[in-house]
């Protein structure tokens, strides 16, 4: 299950590489992420029904086989359309496998309550681990390796299920009748959708800020975002000491909202300043996702169906977050890039450097801007080689630093509004969380 749910975020760090290699745009490549989450959101409940009808062992085995085949297709894709189609099939297979796993878990862990806890924890861990693992694979091997590695992992997970599937066929214990003994937990699922939208903003936008804004390599960005799963681990250790799911959910939502608000108010383009907000987001997401999933499943049967609803809510939230925030930050990035270039031009025009030196620099800077049209440019190479004369050298270094500062300010500021909207979404989840108690907890 963790494998499938990690997949919703595992490609985040690979997106810049994918869009460069497949020659698409930021908005276009976002669909690699959106399509997977959208299909997972739409397919989760029907998939859970299928798992109940066909038998969870058989459904999980088939789901994982489809997931493995589609992962292979993703890894071999050389066009954006093919990749997105394969991602859709991957999500459909994954939805069947994940919801069927919830039916199988009670037999493994002892009872339904423990099964729900383990299922929720796997989901939170998968979401938190995904970006770091994906970034490391992208840098060390390639973005295709993210998908190709999933093939043997899915097959390995599916092999033990074959025995269960055979047993289901032999004993005929397949539940062919759907019995609903409780409606979905509306408040918990709405809260899940809102907080998932916020978490998607945190994971997706931080990666883009690091790679596209601050020009870090995927592996360096993976190291930075690895703080999130570490903090999630700490958050999950805290959870058993607080019995109230509502308190855990509220605390988690506040931490996610606070972390995102801090990301929207970064006072400087320094990697170290990204870490504290990410610690909050990581700890918050493990608390809130687990607590809300447990709440949505508590006392409800069949578990697979209600698990399907939580899965649907979570991934619908991710889709809403991505679709709502992508246009905001791409528009802001364009505007801020223009502002930075204006500010940088002013720095050069007003510089006390000799006119001939400024002319030469301006020409080289213009060439860099033309080369990296539409992106936040790396301006350093335009200043190489530095002049030999010490006075000119210090003037050029000062100019380069001033220009880089303007570009850093622009890249960072371009993400502010999106982070703050994400924070708002996270904090809005406090409304259904507070209502959940009065409704039926």
């Amino acid at each position: 299950m963790g494998l499938v749910l990690a997949d919703s975020s595992v490609v985040v760090l690979a997106l810049p590489d994918i869009y460069r290699e497949l020659g698409t745009s930021v908005s276009g490549v976002t669909w690699v992420l959106v399509a997977f989450n959208l299909v997972l959101a739409l397919a989760a409940v029907p998939a859970s029904m299928l798992a109940r009808r066909a038998g969870p062992g058989r459904a999980a085995a088939v789901g994982l086989a489809v997931f493995a085949g589609a992962s292979l297709a993703c890894g071999l894709s050389d066009q954006l359309g093919t990749l997105i189609l394969a991602r859709c099939i991957q999500a459909a297979g994954g939805a069947v496998a994940v919801t069927a796993a919830l039916e199988l878990l009670p037999a493994v862990v002892g009872n339904e309550r423990r099964a729900a806890t383990a299922w929720a924890a796997a989901g939170a861990t998968g979401a938190a681990l995904g970006p770091g693992v994906g970034g490391a694979l992208t840098e060390l091997v390639s973005w295709q390796s993210i998908f190709l590695l999933q093939v043997p992992l899915a097959i390995a997970a599916g092999v033990p299920l074959l025995g269960i599937a055979r047993e289901e066929r032999r004993t005929g214990t397949i539940e062919r009748e759907l019995r609903f003994t409780g409606r979905p937990h509306v408040a918990a699922n709405i809260a899940l959708a809102l907080v998932s939208a916020a978490i998607a903003a945190a994971l997706f936008l931080v990666v883009l800020l690091l790679i596209e804004g601050w020009r870090l390599s995927p592996i360096a960005a993976a190291a930075v975002v690895s703080v999130v799963p570490l903090a999630a681990l700490a958050g999950s250790r805290l959870a058993p000491h607080v019995p109230s799911a509502r308190a855990r959910a509220a605390a988690g939502a506040i931490l996610v909202g606070g972390g995102l608000a801090a990301l929207g108010l970064l006072p400087k383009a320094l990697v170290v300043l990204i870490l504290p907000p990410q610690l909050l987001v990581g700890a918050g997401l493990s608390l809130v996702l687990s607590a809300l999933t447990e709440t949505a499943l508590a006392g409800r049967s069949p578990q697979a169906i209600h698990g399907g609803w939580t899965l649907s809510a979570r991934h619908a939230g991710v889709v809403i977050g991505l679709l709502a925030l992508t246009p905001v930050f791409t528009a802001d990035l364009r505007e801020q890039r223009r502002n930075a270039i204006d500010a940088g031009t002013a720095v050069v025009l007003d510089s006390p450097a000799p006119a001939l030196l400024k002319i030469d620099l301006a020409q080289r800077i213009s060439e860099r801007l033309d080369q990296e049209r539409g992106k936040v440019p790396v301006i350093g190479p335009a200043f190489e080689p530095l002049p030999q004369d010490p006075q000119e050298r210090s003037q050029v270094v000062a100019l380069r630093d001033d220009l880089q500062d303007q570009l850093d300010r622009a890249a960072t500021h371009a993400f502010s509004a999106s982070f703050l909207i994400g924070a708002l979404l996270g904090l809005l989840s406090l409304i259904p969380i507070s209502l959940a108690r009065r409704v039926d907890l």
Partner: protein, 188 residues
């Protein structure tokens, strides 16, 4: 009893989350998080202070920047946008298409820019009032093609500035013809 302990832990957890989140946000705000954005460029229509020019080259450079300001003000764009637009022919064409600016409008803007530069130079004490008069006259009589060439000859951003310098020197040469003994003795 265990319920009470549970309630205490719940309150502690939520209170701790609020405290940590608020402290981080306040710390980032205090460090300038709300204002970390690119500097705003100055309105080209507002006067810009001249640095004390030490020599003719410095005067000419500030003169060209003032001319850029004046032309940008006339065209309702920033000085920086206009300066970049004049770097290459391709950029100039893109600029003209984007802002819907025709040749005549650009010529008028350049003339206005040169006049503004003379005014600014006089105000800053970079040129004497005695020189400003013939310079204005020379600028008015400067053929439109030459005024346009100040921009059109420019390829990189400061080749344009050089173009302006050429224009200034051209104006000075014309002024030399108007003033016996030339203009250089009139410079501060």
């Amino acid at each position: 009893m265990s319920v009470d302990r549970g309630d205490d832990r719940s309150r502690l957890l939520v209170g701790g989350a609020v405290l940590v989140a608020a402290l981080l946000v306040i710390a980032y705000l205090a460090a300038g998080g709300a204002s970390y954005e690119p500097s705003q460029v100055q309105d080209p229509c507002k006067p810009r202070e001249w640095r004390n020019p030490q020599d003719l080259q410095a005067i000419a450079e500030q003169f060209s920047l003032s001319a850029l300001d004046g032309a940008a003000c006339q065209l309702h764009v920033s000085r920086e946008t206009l300066a970049r637009a004049l770097t290459t022919q391709e950029r100039r064409d893109r600029f003209a298409a984007r802002y819907g600016i025709g040749d005549a409008e650009l010529e008028a803007a350049v003339r206005a820019g040169v006049q503004r530069a003379i005014d600014d130079a006089e105000r800053a004490g970079a040129i004497s009032p005695i020189l400003a008069v013939p310079l204005r006259e020379a600028a008015r009589r400067l053929p439109v093609d030459e005024a346009i060439q100040l921009i059109q000859d420019a390829r990189p951003i400061f080749e344009n500035a050089q173009g302006f310098l050429g224009g200034v020197f051209g104006l000075l040469d014309q002024a030399n013809g108007l003033i016996p003994g030339g203009v250089r003795p009139l410079l501060p």
